[in-house]
């Protein structure tokens, strides 16, 4: 129904155009139940229903755009869009022709719809509260349908619709010591949730041991996929962006120039075909099934938006405006999950990293904190939870000469942040064993 509503709006937009005008339209909508938990109970529960349309009016090489909220009521929204087209038309008089405008004028329509299989959010909340009884459980449930649509005046129509849930939670043992866990999908399975909950609860026993404080220095370390995701996520701050590479603001300039390399075990790719994000981007360009970014430690490619393609005279490869990874995959290695502690020997088992930033962008040096269940390991045995430590180290070292192994098993990590809207990005990552990691505070 919402797809038909969008198509009706697209037809209405086409009817508003004057000679020589075109449009593109991107719809991002959701009807989400959001529930926060603290101390095993509900802190804040509610629903958000929103529809945002980004409309671009084009006249030759001139264009202007606006993002506006829609009511989801066809008659009201038609009137609003008529007024908006007229407003954008007046704005066109103020802007110059854009030499970097690139449009997709060959329609490539498509759709992907998954009917909802979710129960009412209240039923999920009941399951969570029942499981959390007696635990210091804190977390967040987001569930409901998410819609994305694209239309343009050349007749292209794209649609993706999926209902999903994400429960992201922590079980606290006391102070800042907690087990972090998550459960996401399109079908709520009470037994599967309970199994994940019980697994996390079992780990609490380890966190109740007296915590160990270590001195700054270099340590062997194992990064779980969740911890490695934070490191890889920093490369998404423009690292693989064609624009940022060309303007010398990328953290991976030296990798792209061939001056630096990562360990040959490292291969990264943007794998749209196996990700959760739409296969079309907001300007209507279809994304390739996959884009190689790093192949066996060497720079292999960047993410190129239509705008960068026009500016630099190269081919676009489905990059969004920000040229960021949305469906990242990292190749697995040879280390079996069951051998992680044994191969680590003595060092740090780091479940999560937190609040990373660049301390030296040209050298791709990062700083950040350990968080949640991070342990001190001796001779392959977990000895004690570790008090939080700050690291400051270069990706060229961590994933270069200091990378000893990657796990064979990989974990799919779905983005749980909900800035502005629920996200569809994901990372499929192994864990990483490092011979050294520099701790500084």
């Amino acid at each position: 129904m919402i797809k038909q509503y969008f198509h009706d709006l697209a037809d209405h937009l086409a009817a508003q155009l004057q000679r020589g005008e075109d449009y593109t339209a991107w719809l991002a909508g959701e009807r989400s139940d959001f529930v926060r938990f603290n101390h095993g109970k509900v802190r804040q529960a509610g629903e958000v229903s929103q529809l945002y349309l980004t409309l671009r009016l084009i006249q030759g090489q001139k264009h202007v755009s606006s993002q506006l909220t829609l009511a989801g009521r066809l008659d009201d929204d038609r009137g609003q869009l008529s007024a908006e087209v007229a407003r954008l038309r007046t704005m066109l008089a103020d802007v110059a022709a854009d030499p970097h405008l690139l449009l997709n004028t060959a329609p490539q329509s498509g759709e992907h719809i998954e009917p909802s299989r979710l129960p009412a959010a209240e039923a999920i909340v009941d399951d969570v509260v029942n499981a959390a009884n007696g635990f210091d459980f804190v977390g967040f449930l987001a569930c409901g349908p998410v819609f994305n649509g694209f239309a343009n005046s050349w007749g292209q129509r794209n649609w993706q619709e999926k209902a999903s849930f994400s429960l992201d939670w922590s079980l606290y043992a006391g102070g800042d010591k907690a087990v972090k866990a998550g459960y996401a999908g399109t079908e709520w399975d009470r037994d599967a949730f309970r199994a994940k909950f019980d697994h996390a609860a079992a780990q609490l026993l380890l966190l109740q041991r007296p915590a160990k404080t270590i001195a700054p220095g270099s340590y062997r370390a194992y990064l779980t996929p969740g911890a490695l995701a934070e490191v890889i996520g920093m490369l998404n701050w423009g690292g693989f962006s064609e624009k940022q590479l060309r303007s010398k603001r990328s953290s991976l300039i030296r990798l792209a120039d061939g001056e630096q390399a990562l360990n040959p075990m490292v291969s990264l790719l943007e794998h749209t075909a196996e990700g959760l994000a739409p296969a079309f981007q907001s300007e209507g360009f279809i994304k390739p099934a996959k884009v190689d970014l790093v192949r066996e430690g060497r720079f292999a490619g960047s993410l190129i938006s239509p705008r960068s393609a026009k500016e630099y005279g190269i081919a676009a490869n489905g990059g969004n405006e920000g040229e960021i990874m949305e469906s990242l995959q990292m190749a697995g290695g040879e280390l079996a999950q069951a051998r992680i502690l044994a191969e680590l020997g003595t060092g740090l088992y780091i479940s999560n990293l937190w609040y990373l930033n660049f301390s030296d962008r040209m050298n791709c040096r990062l700083t950040g904190m350990t968080r949640f269940a991070t342990f001190w390991v001796e001779n392959g045995e977990i000895v004690a939870p570790l008090n939080v430590m700050r690291f400051d180290d270069s990706v060229y070292r961590m994933l270069g000469k200091n990378l000893e192994a990657l796990t064979r098993e990989r974990e799919l990590l779905v983005e749980t942040q909900t800035y502005g809207s629920r996200q569809t990005s994901s990372q499929l990552l192994p864990g990483a064993l490092l011979s050294e990691m520099a701790l500084v505070l």
Binding site: Q44, A45, A71, Y355, V388, Q417, L441
Partner: protein, 480 residues
């Protein structure tokens, strides 16, 4: 629209102990020139309501962009349903909160009263600044922008509260990247994340120094490219307001948020090293440290009349002569914790529920000129303009980096240094405050991008501060 919303809400029959409507309509546009090319002109109209109910001790909300009578009724029904579904396992009996019933109107310094600039004139200004940036071939990227927003907000309760607030925001910025000999340095006007952001009109362009900034910032970027690395060691650290804003934000603002202290944010933004028993007795900083929460400073970015639960804003000292007095906690958190707080229950927009957020959080000025503070430094670094920030989930162990530094020896500035960083621990860092600048060193900064909450929210905050001098800080630069 405002009158229609009022009428539609008044016609609803909530049948609950408490029911409020919060309407937010935000319009804006962004003008940008990058490398002497006008960038696509973008604008927004974001409009919606949130209805919140408290009933039988339960709390529920529903937000919608459907502003019709049917849309509001559906939102009310959903909010009631959530309150009913969760009242038996709510973390708190919300029936115990006495939320205010305010009436009034607030308007920030207005765009309509400021010097007139047409869109074309603004684009021409940005183009002129852009063209001034390209000093030589080492300048490889540059851009200048102006973002303006207007927000109209309405808060109603079922039993008569009515507050209307109007805000005008202007956010200018400019950044230049220089590249040479394998190094890249970016210098900006007030930071690469909109440090110069204020309420008001186009007088802010002048206040921020946008006019004439292109050449000046480009020269600083080139100077950084050829400057030596920041030295390493334990030394004095003099922070100017463009970095102080970040230092205040991360290691005073967030740790004092009452919802963090109550544990709400432990799954995402984190907890706090501050505990409830510290208020009224904990020595947060040296006796030179005075920190105010001040939503009444009109031009500062997060000024307001009332917060999003209807509590009136007032200037309040949170830290006085170094002693911690009050947390950043709104009406609901205050009731949960049983201690006084301030009016800081805030939401980023209509589609997110209010939580404890700092608004304008400022360090009060002291009595030293910048020259006096520099003269008192035997060896140290002065730093300005944040570029990197990281802190642990208890808001204690931090590491921050700046765009530009100046080496100071024997009371004199020697030269510029690049890649300046420092690290410390909040619980002890503020006690090393040795001197506080006077009004001549004071500036009003802020950021539109403070992230927190589940669901996630990015909100506007303001931070005004003088320059401040700290002793025995761990300072360092980039890899050689």
């Amino acid at each position: 629209m405002i009158e229609e919303i009022k009428q539609r809400f008044r016609a609803l029959k909530p049948g609950t102990a408490f029911c409020a409507l919060r309407f937010v309509e935000e319009t804006g546009e962004r003008l940008e020139v990058r490398q002497d090319v006008e960038q696509p002109l973008t604008s927004q109209t974001d409009r919606g309501v949130m209805i919140t109910v408290i009933d039988g001790g339960g709390y529920g909300y529903a937000a919608t962009s459907d502003l019709s009578t049917a849309g509001l009724q559906a939102a009310l029904d959903r909010a009631r349903a959530w309150a009913a579904a969760t009242r038996s396992h709510s973390v708190f009996d919300y029936g115990k909160v006495a939320l205010p019933r305010p009436t009034g109107r607030y308007q920030s310094p207005s765009l309509s009263q400021s010097p007139r600039w047409t869109r074309r004139e603004l684009l021409d200004l940005l183009m002129a600044e852009s063209r001034a940036c390209k000093l030589d071939d080492r300048i490889v990227d540059w851009h200048a922008f102006i973002e303006r927003k207007q927000s109209r907000q309405l808060y109603l309760t079922h039993d008569g509260a009515e507050v209307e607030q109007l805000f005008d925001f202007v956010m200018p910025g400019l950044a230049v990247t220089a590249y040479g000999d394998g190094d890249s340095q970016t210098r900006s006007l007030g930071g690469q994340y909109n440090g110069y952001c204020r309420q008001g009109g186009f007088e802010i362009l002048q206040q921020a120094g946008l006019i004439g900034a292109g050449r000046r910032v480009a020269e600083e970027a080139i100077e950084l490219l050829t400057a030596p690395n920041c030295p390493s060691g334990t030394m004095d650290l003099l922070l100017k307001p463009e970095q102080m804003m970040l230092q205040i934000h991360e290691s005073i603002g967030h740790p004092l948020e009452l919802d963090r202290i109550l544990g709400d944010e432990r799954n995402y933004a984190g907890t706090s090293f501050v505990t409830l028993d510290m208020f009224g007795q904990y020595q947060y900083g040296s006796e030179l440290l005075n920190v105010s929460y001040d939503p009444t400073l009109a031009h500062e970015f997060a000024a307001f009349g009332w917060d999003d639960d209807g509590t009136a804003g007032a200037k309040t000292l949170l830290i006085k002569r170094g002693k911690l007095l009050k947390p950043l906690g709104g009406a609901i958190s205050q009731a949960r914790a049983g201690i006084d707080g301030v009016a800081n229950s805030r939401a980023c927009s209509w589609n997110r529920a209010p939580i404890d957020r700092m608004a304008n959080l400022n360090v009060e000025p002291g009595d030293k000129t910048l020259a006096e503070m520099i003269a008192g430094i035997e060896r140290g670094v002065m730093m300005d303009t944040n570029v990197s920030w990281s802190i642990d989930d208890s808001r204690n162990k931090f590491q921050f980096g700046c765009e530009q530094g100046w080496l100071i020896e024997n009371g004199e500035i020697r030269h510029v240094v690049k890649n300046p960083n420092y690290r410390g621990i909040s619980a002890t860092f503020w006690r090393s405050l040795k001197a506080v600048g006077n009004m001549s060193t004071f500036d009003v900064m802020g950021t539109p991008y403070c992230g927190k909450g589940e669901p996630s929210q990015v909100i506007r905050v303001g931070h005004a501060s003088p320059a401040c001098l700290f002793g025995n800080v761990d300072v360092f630069g980039a890899e050689e």
